[in-house]
Subunit: 749 residues, 2 copies
């Protein structure tokens, strides 16, 4: 096993190239079998009866009529002892609910489920179940929830967590030292993860062995979650998550429907598919919680930040969840005096779940607009202000230096690519459309690490099997990992078979999320490939009777440097004899005494229609220090996807709760506005910043998914301010909100 | 990777125990998915049009009517360029045929194939294909085939191979030195492999990746065969052979139907299942060829063999095949003068294929009866004669000694268990039923070896994944391999998941056959488990701050010898941190300068009805030197299965060719007589002989499948002679044959 740190890559022949995905054919032609596509013989289909009320007690569930309906094979509810499974950790780690809980705390909570021969029969039967509810008072906004006497979502009240306080230095002293102060309150809306493939699990039992196909980012997390809840050892739970249609954090770990599918499959002794409709996935499987943040900041005339103070509340839904990351987000800028106090509020709505850079997107919305405002106050360019305050040391973690920190480079190279100075100086216009440009920066709190174990096997003909646990959630993980193997072994990409994301056939990998997959797994892949390479060269050295040090592996051939001897891998007699070689690689521990973060700076140019409130994003530049680019094409895919998500956050996306009924008013793709191609500028530019960080890991990678979206919305908001002179404190900036802002504020120009 | 030779096992806690199979539940409950059970969405079903004539040319194939039939999606025949694939190697390695060859050389050869939505539609369409044949003269018996002017099966004539001659010493001199001579001609019948699961493949393409589920003993052999014929690299061909219903050698490598399924799947862009009916499998996918053998042997009065001379011909079917192993079989006994001359004859019938101890069963039928006759001639006990001539050295291979050679022990311990002396002395009876006992010995020509690579992974909770390429063809391979892991890692069997026989997820293993699976793969499994164990103990040593040498792993716990410290595997902090550990094991090379063979001695007691010719096998004892017994239950299963097959060979099984029509007359389980429970004695005794061979490999195993069947038939034949005084030279000894024999010979008593 190769755990030692190999030499960093110099010039590469495969890595870094903009190659199409290795599974492009399957994805485009439709032969790829996603979990939703999976059909097993004798498979039943399940449908879930969900509470239609925002807050209710289930008094009685009558299955009599449903059970008589054609095709119905089983029902399950809180009345079944096997379904008595705790769910949601409440305060103090106590379970706050059960799999089917008679106390439903939001619209869409699971009341019962039916398994039938067809999805239609299952849904018909769901409609035939008669439930007697006792409706309860409810609250569906953070503001109302925290008022005294508000209906209690949980027994302990509506404060989801004790205030989480972080403090260093003395903020009052810092504010006193400041030449300029800003204090603003920002709000963001609840945004829903809405992956192309909704949530679906298929479960099958063979004896006491459970097999689950799941649309999941983390097959190993789903495996351990199921093993824990069903009291099984890991070897008896196999989870497969190959071909996955997106997750954005909502599929990082086990969901209720997966457990339910497993229980129904056990009860019926048949495979069971439980697929959530789009509406169900809007209600129940996660969201980016709305935030209210008051941020106070002080700055000296020369641009030195003196103090940052944040108080924030996240609207986490009906069950507690942590959303307190303000302190981490503000690590981006050097500041001796920082205080954050964050809490969360419970409301009768679906629970939050990590969503692409959880917390960071919201806090960045506040922080980066405040930076913008401070720059204006002291008359400094916003890019310069950020550069001035950037620090390559993690301030909270005992001053740990970063192995690389490219925010300055992102800002400078991004500004150059964007034409920042010129754009900033251009008139904002004075007709119907007002123009402006904005910038925002960010870091992201993770850069991966152990554990991941990867196996690379060599077939007798020189073709290769890459065996890794990581799921490819649509980002191109399979492609970039195979490229590393191709690079090291000198084999063409199409001579590599990839086995992945199957807890039965691959070894542990952390869930694919948090921008951690590439920096966590690619070093293990490289280590495994190099381990295999060294074994291969040893065999060749024996056959060629040449010292192993003199051998080179290139283009599928092994040759002696300076000599004429060479042999194709597939012609190595010893390989043909052994039929297979195997290399194992583990991710080496992260370097001690240092840490790493990816950084980014986004630039946006917008125009604002002063009469309709419409905002058009004209172009964006994203400069990303995510380490080495493994594949320019998939890298750009992720960056452009991140920018698109940022546009949605800034301009269109929000969960609308109907206050009188407590129900979500836009639980569908028509009313919940995800940006379409028409909302995204054709001019999106990706500027990779490679700091050649050879210290963090052996592939010099840091991760791209999250930092590609974090600052995008704030950059747009700052551009809006630049265009209009009005600060948009609330996201999204819908046309009606913009009209309101423009009518209140003074639009210059 | 642990390649060094570990210490042999002393006392074991799991290995050797008669444990039920790890997959017993799935096999018994029916949840096991055999290839025949596999249903894929959109799967088509194929059916094959086979030549009804023993010898014909296809002049015209008219699909017009078939193509219009409901559900028909594709047809394939020799007219399709993509089906122009060479098949069968002829003399000099030249292809003797094609996948669909217009020259059909036996009943059942493939003419065309149809893929349709259902098997019924496919068969209906097959019947609607109109074929114009030109029938040709044929020959379906070896005797006729070798006559001058016989119809030629192949262009080169009906001699399947040049005579294969082996010679050492001087047989004429040896015969001159003999005190007693025997020369007899023996014949055996063509026997058909008839596994419970017939032959079936399912093929699916994803882009240019081919996935095949196959009822196969050798998924890696099928993979490389497909890759070669379809000109693909190995990484693009995935073959899975999990849950397999028997093969007996007929599924060691690629069959035509598998290639056809792959071609149809490519043509239709749909998964295709091609399952052979029982009748098809009788006609086309292999058999143990009939043999005619003339054996001359000389012996001195003291029992010393002086010369052995064999001339033999195998009736190999319509395509050449090697069946010349007489020299190897006769290696069992020391003899300075040996000459064998073997050839094969082509007839218009299905081609032979390896069948459980190919060649050995036939030659043993002759050799062991001749030994019996020699013993009688010189008045020596047949057991003693065998012991006297046994030699623990391979005579042909430059006098290589065996690492262990337990024939003597098999004979002695078997005789003891059988009560040989007493049974031999007992009167044979003089009423309707005549009694007798017989013995026969054998060696088998293989004892396994590299290459096999196995991976054993440890989950964070201490449960285990065993990843190995070997197929479990019904013999219990999964069970015994998991037991080795359980033994070494101290984990219960049900904490081990087994991934196997999938070229996409496991590493190369040779086909499961030839009694080679256990001696080839179990040492690799043990090496992998020990590799993992050493890594595990290293982690524990760190956590317990104890030298690794002082640590013991037992019952899922690691403890320091003599100390009180201990930790459960699942509680090892470092394991939880790393989430997975992995051990890799390869089969070490076989020891140089030595070789190994398994040995066996079988004893049978029969009674013969002198009026009806019925032979009843009353009891059998099989003493087997197959090395260490890994699981007494699966070991006994194999031995009893081997004895049963021996009974079939001796008494009931034979392919009947109808001479006037050239067609097989008994291609079904009603007319082709496989022994049923009623034909097998309740008293079957297995006597494992363990020579504690720690030199051959690290599990001290040699293999059991073949040697459990080789001498069984001859032991029965010798018992028949003992009962009747009449030598049964032809197998099977059907009642009518026995009546014939008894009417010719003189039945004593």
């Amino acid at each position: 096993m190769a755990e030692t740190t190999p030499k960093p890559w110099g010039e590469t022949t495969v890595v870094g190239k903009p190659l199409p995905r290795v599974d492009a054919y399957e994805r485009v032609s439709g032969t790829a079998v996603y979990t939703l596509d999976l059909l097993l013989p004798d498979m039943l289909h399940a449908a879930t009866l969900r509470c239609p009320h925002p807050h209710a007690r289930v008094k009685k569930v009558d299955f009599a009529k449903a059970l008589k309906m054609p095709g119905v094979r089983a029902v399950l509810s809180d009345a079944d002892p096997e379904a008595n499974i705790p769910w949601h950790s409440g305060p103090g780690g106590k379970p706050a609910s059960r799999l089917f809980d008679s106390h439903c705390r939001h619209e869409g909570e699971e009341v019962a489920v039916v398994a039938a021969e067809s999805p239609q029969q299952a849904w018909d039967a769901v409609r035939a179940i008669q439930v007697e509810y006792e409706t309860l008072p409810f609250v569906v906004s953070m503001e109302e929830a925290l008022k005294p006497g508000a209906p209690a979502v949980q027994e302990g009240g509506n404060l989801g967590s004790k205030p989480n306080v972080y403090s260093r230095g003395d903020v009052d002293k810092g504010f006193a030292e400041a030449d300029a102060l800003i204090e603003e309150t920002f709000t963001t809306s609840c945004e829903i993860q809405s992956p192309m493939e909704t949530f679906v699990s298929v479960a099958r039992w063979d004896g006491d062995n459970l097999m689950v196909w799941d649309s999941s980012q983390g097959p190993f997390a789903v495996q351990s979650g199921l093993a824990r809840l069903l009291d099984m050892p890991l070897n008896k739970v196999r989870v497969i998550s190959q071909f996955m249609g997106g997750g954005f954090g909502s599929k990082l770990d086990l969901s209720k429907h997966t457990v339910i599918a497993a229980l129904l499959a056990r009860k019926t002794a048949r495979p069971v598919k439980l697929a959530l409709s789009r509406e169900e996935s809007f209600l129940c499987v996660g969201n980016r919680p709305a935030h209210t943040m008051t941020l106070k900041a002080g700055v000296k005339k020369d641009g030195t930040l003196t103090a940052l103070q944040l108080t924030g509340t996240g609207e986490v839904g009906a069950y507690p969840g942590s959303t307190t990351v303000g302190g981490q987000v503000m690590e981006l800028y050097s500041c001796p005096n920082v205080r954050t106090e964050e809490t969360s509020a419970l409301i009768n709505a679906g629970q939050n779940r990590p969503m692409r850079a959880p917390g960071y997107v919201q806090c960045s919305w506040a922080l980066e607009q405040v930076l913008d405002a401070l720059a204006e106050k002291i008359g400094m360019d916003p890019v310069d202000l950020r550069i001035k305050n950037f620090i390559a040391v993690h301030q909270a973690q005992k001053g740990l230096p970063y192995t690389s920190a490219g925010l300055r480079e992102c800002l400078m190279e991004g500004a150059k690519a964007f034409g920042w100075k010129e754009a900033r100086a251009r008139a904002r216009g004075n007709g119907t459309w007002l123009r402006g440009v904005g910038v925002a920066g960010c870091l992201w709190g993770y850069a991966g690490g152990p554990p991941s174990t990867v196996i690379v096997g060599l077939n007798a003909d020189g073709s290769v099997i890459l065996n890794m646990g990581a799921a490819d959630i649509g980002t191109g993980t399979k492609t970039v990992m195979a490229m590393i193997v191709a690079e090291e072994l000198g084999v063409p990409l199409d001579r590599i078979r990839i086995e992945h994301a199957d807890t039965g056939t691959t070894l542990y990998s952390a869930p694919s999320g948090g921008s951690k997959t590439v920096p966590s797994d690619s070093p293990a892949v490289r280590a495994a490939a190099l381990d295999l390479k060294s074994k291969l060269l040893e065999l060749a050295a024996e056959q060629l009777k040449t010292p192993v040090e003199s051998l080179e592996l290139r283009g599928g051939e092994i040759s002696a440097r300076g000599g004429s001897q060479k042999v194709a891998i597939g012609n190595l007699a010893a390989l043909r004899q052994q039929q297979a070689l195997v290399g194992v690689g583990k991710r080496a521990p992260n370097p001690t005494g240092k840490t790493a973060r990816p950084f980014a700076a986004h630039f946006a140019e917008v125009e604002v229609n002063r009469y309709t409130g419409e905002i058009r994003v004209l172009r964006m530049v994203a400069a990303q220090d995510s380490g080495r680019v493994l594949n320019l094409l998939t890298y750009r895919n992720q960056v452009f996807g991140g920018l698109t998500m940022g546009i949605g956050f800034a301009l269109t996306e929000r969960r609308v709760m109907d206050q009188p009924t407590g129900k979500m008013a836009n639980a569908n793709w028509h009313d919940y506005k995800i940006p379409t191609a028409m909302d995204v500028p054709a001019e999106l530019t990706c500027v990779p910043v490679d700091m050649h960080d050879h210290e963090w890991n052996n592939t010099s990678t840091k991760g791209i998914g999250e930092p590609a979206t974090i600052p995008a919305a704030a950059a747009i908001a700052n551009a809006f301010y630049h265009a209009t002179g009005v600060r948009a404190r609330s996201a999204p900036m819908t046309p009606s909100a913009v009209i309101g802002l423009l009518s209140q504020g003074k639009v210059k120009g």
